[in-house]
Amino acid sequence: MRVVVAEDLFLLRDGLTRLLTAHDFEIAAAVDNAPGLLCALLEQRPDVAIVDVRLPPAFADDGLQAALTARREVPGLPVVLLSQYVEQLYARELLADQAGAVGYLLKDRVFNDDQFVDAIRTVAGGGTVMDPEVVTKLLGRRSRDEPVSRLSGREREVLALMAEGRSNVAIAQRLFITEKAVSKHTTSIFTKLDLAASEDDNRRVLAVLAYLNA
């Protein structure tokens, strides 16, 4: 699987490259600035890009902007954004095109390399992965709303894990329940939130995120 890495700090870029190589990823390009990233994305067309939000030259949200520009050129180009902080505003912009194949994670998540690599593979496969912190904030904001408050505690847990982009299998493992129980919960959640149920995992995640973002 071919990856483009964009990170301006040498130590982190090097660490990421090593981690990915160790997990059988092929590094198509490792760049340290936004214009370079845009070129790499458009020329290399990688299977997935791992991008730091803050990049030179402006050291603002250049990485995010470059990724969004690239996705406008190549719709659905899989991008995982890494950042020292997560902002709902940026998550919203990433999800706006409803095309999926995006991830938004705190840099800390690299510490757990298995989960991190899983997340990258999910995005490369067209899935959506949101950092638990984003989901917590989204749920916190909507917790007072009528439909969300009608969910049971367990259903809320399932909803959070769904929004993070996890599959039924992963949710079942995480909550120590059967897959069947998970799908029962998801059906109930979709009914209570009045969402169209879908068997497709990606569609499902996007629907839940769109609902929470509204």
Binding site: L38, A60, D61, Q84, Y85, R92, D108, F111, R141, R144
Partner: protein, 630 residues
């Protein structure tokens, strides 16, 4: 015991009620004074209803409108009082009803202007002009009065006398029906009408029924309601003066409040009003001139001239205020100087002596006796004192800037403000650095130390107990995650990343997404603001939002940000319980100081019960929008 404590308790209850409902509620009794002054009619009722609606609906606006309303009520009171004491007609009526005399008054006291007004026992009124009266003498009888006199009003005398605003002259004059038994005729009449002075004695010992009826009917409406209600007007003048003084005292405070807090007026209007507050005084002062010199063409012209001067040369207007006050004082002293000659015309104690004539109006007084002449002197002294107090503030400062341009007072004030705000800024920066130092020391630094110790422990146990080493490594990783979280929070508190990335508009949008309540945004910012302003405004909005969530238990917040004419205006309004006061909480105070560093202001309108509206204004330029280079 009880009396004093009861009073204190009552006062506490009253002030508490007022604090809860807002001082604006006082607008209602002030408006109700209109009924006392002008009688119960559509206008006065409408004023009371309007005042009630404003006081209930917009308590803050009502509180702000209170001082000018008090000034208005005070001036109206003086105006009415002037009419009551100054109008011979009413004087006759009240004299009549009060003492029960068949009344008459000689006009002016001078033989040339001799004039009689007679109330006839059947309820008629007769006005007699002397043939020797100078041309142009008039006798005004308000139509409302004339209508209520069952006997009608009649003018007698040479043809050149006339009765303006009077019932048609054809109205029939009913001749006297009751003639006091022992009345001594005094004076003369062209048409055989009889005039009397001294206590009236009626045939049969009782005043005829028509008398009592007339006493009721003959009072003009404005004389009945105001003076009768307020102890025949004796309370009216002190009350009016009290209201006027209180209102004038409160008005500059409201103006000062506007400078610091309220932002109802447009900023330029506000600045102009504050800068020219002494000049603005010229208009009410010339209005007072109407009561000092009477309503004459030249006094009215003076009011118009005052407005023109104020608009064109506000500084000159300020300089004129003490001059005009001095002129008032001269007039007052002149009247007071007459008191001895007046006293000579009286027999008996000066204050109880009946007036020698209709007298001369001065301020709220009718100078017609030695006592009132002395009071005019007192009033003149007040005018003079006020003028003298204003001299260093108006003529003084202007002269100083003309003769010694180096010491501009405004400049000095500005330097003082800058010195204050600079020291605030340095203080704030220092305490902020200390906070960061403390957070780093207790947070991330401590965690890194723990991390190092953990790793050292791993080194030691790894050869002997790999299982324990694994647990320690997991712990070390947890520790690093926590350190990162703390650093993240710290950075967010120093300079939020979105603010650095995208500027105020997006940062506020991000902030609103993190706020657990519906937030409406109305942001009009075509470019980036200077970074320090951006940061100060961001934290100000964050503080306001946090207050709305934490203290106001608001359900909805509206944030409006607009940049126009090099002024950034931010409004944060919520529908919570209100009662926010920058003087009480340190949060808003800190915001005020921080904005003050940029010459910005913070205005809080938060009456108990809400809603809360926080307005911030910062003068600053907008840089062109940052373009993303890809």
């Amino acid at each position: 015991m009880g009396c004093m404590q009861m009073l204190v308790l009552l006062w506490r209850i009253l002030t508490n009620v007022l604090r809860r409902l807002g001082w604006g509620l006082l607008l209602v009794p002030v408006a109700a004074m209109g009924i006392a002054l002008f009688g119960l009619n559509l206008w006065t009722l409408a004023a009371v209803v309007l005042a009630t609606v404003v006081a209930v609906q917009w308590p803050a606006a009502a509180a702000r409108a209170l001082p000018p309303s008090m000034v208005g009520a005070g001036l109206s009171g003086l105006f009415v009082a002037g009419r009551i004491t100054g109008s011979p007609v009413n004087w006759v009526v009240s004299k009549f009803t009060a003492v029960g005399k068949v009344a008459q008054i000689p006009a002016k006291g001078s033989p040339a202007g001799l004039r009689w007004v007679t109330i006839t026992p059947n309820g008629g009124m007769q006005v007699t002009f002397s043939p020797k009266a100078p041309p142009g003498w008039t006798m005004g009888v308000p139509a409302a009065v004339a209508k209520r006199l069952p006997g009608g009003v009649k003018a007698v005398g040479p043809k050149r006398m006339f009765l303006p605003r009077q019932v048609p002259a054809q109205r029939k004059f009913v001749p006297n029906q009751f003639v006091p038994a022992n009345a001594t005729p005094k004076g003369a009449s062209l048409h055989g009408a009889q005039f009397f002075s001294g206590p009236a004695k009626f045939a049969g010992g009782q005043p005829p029924a028509a008398f009592a009826k007339m006493g009721h009917l003959a009072r003009p409406p404005w004389a009945v309601q105001a003076p009768a209600g307020l102890w025949h007007g004796r309370l009216l003048v002190p009350l009016a003066l009290l209201l006027l003084t209180l209102g004038l005292w409160l008005t500059p405070r409201t103006l000062a409040g506007l400078r610091g807090r309220g932002a109802i007026l447009a900023p330029e209007v506000r600045r102009w009003l504050v800068a020219n507050r002494w000049g603005v005084l010229l208009v009410p002062v010339t209005l007072i001139g109407l009561t000092v010199f009477g309503v004459r063409p030249w006094t009215i012209a003076a009011v118009i001239a005052a407005v023109v001067v104020l608009a064109r040369w506000p500084r000159a207007a300020a300089d004129l205020v003490p001059v005009v006050l001095a002129i008032f004082a001269v007039r007052g002293f002149q009247l007071a100087a007459n008191w001895q000659s007046m006293a000579a015309a009286f027999q008996g104690p000066a204050f109880n002596a009946p007036p020698a004539g209709p007298g001369v109006e001065y301020g709220a007084l009718l100078v017609d006796s030695p006592g009132t002449a002395l009071l005019a002197g007192v009033e003149a002294s007040v005018f003079l004192a006020l003028g003298a107090w204003l001299v260093p503030r108006t003529i003084g400062t202007h002269a100083r800037t003309v003769f010694n341009p180096g010491t501009d007072v405004e400049l000095a004030g500005r330097v003082q403000r800058l010195t204050e705000s600079r020291s605030h800024a340095v203080d704030a920066a220092t305490s902020e650095l200390r906070r960061i130092e403390r957070d780093l020391h207790d947070g991330a630094q401590a965690r890194l130390v723990a991390l190092g110790m953990n790793l050292r422990a791993v080194e030691r146990v790894l050869p002997t107990n790999p299982q324990a080493a694994l647990a320690l490594v997991a712990e070390a990783r947890e520790s690093s995650v926590r350190a990162l979280n703390e650093l993240r929070d710290l950075i967010r508190g120093i300079y939020p990343p979105v603010l650095a990335d995208r500027g105020l508009g997006h940062a506020v949008r991000a902030l609103s997404l993190d706020t657990p309540m519906p937030t409406e945004l109305d942001i009009d910012l075509p470019g980036r603001l200077p970074a320090p302003v951006e940061s100060a405004c961001y934290f100000a909005i964050a503080e306001a939002l946090a207050n709305a969530v934490k203290h106001a238990s608001a359900r909805k917040v509206h944030i409006r940000i607009k940049h126009a004419d090099d002024i950034l205006r931010i409004e944060v309004a919520d529908d919570g319980v209100g009662g926010a006061d920058p003087a009480l909480g340190t949060g808003l105070q800190g915001v005020e100081r921080r904005l003050g560093t940029f010459d910005g202001i913070l205005a809080v309108s938060s009456p108990p019960g809400g809603p809360t509206m926080i307005v911030m204004e910062v003068p600053c330029a907008l840089s062109s929008p940052k373009t993303f280079s890809s």
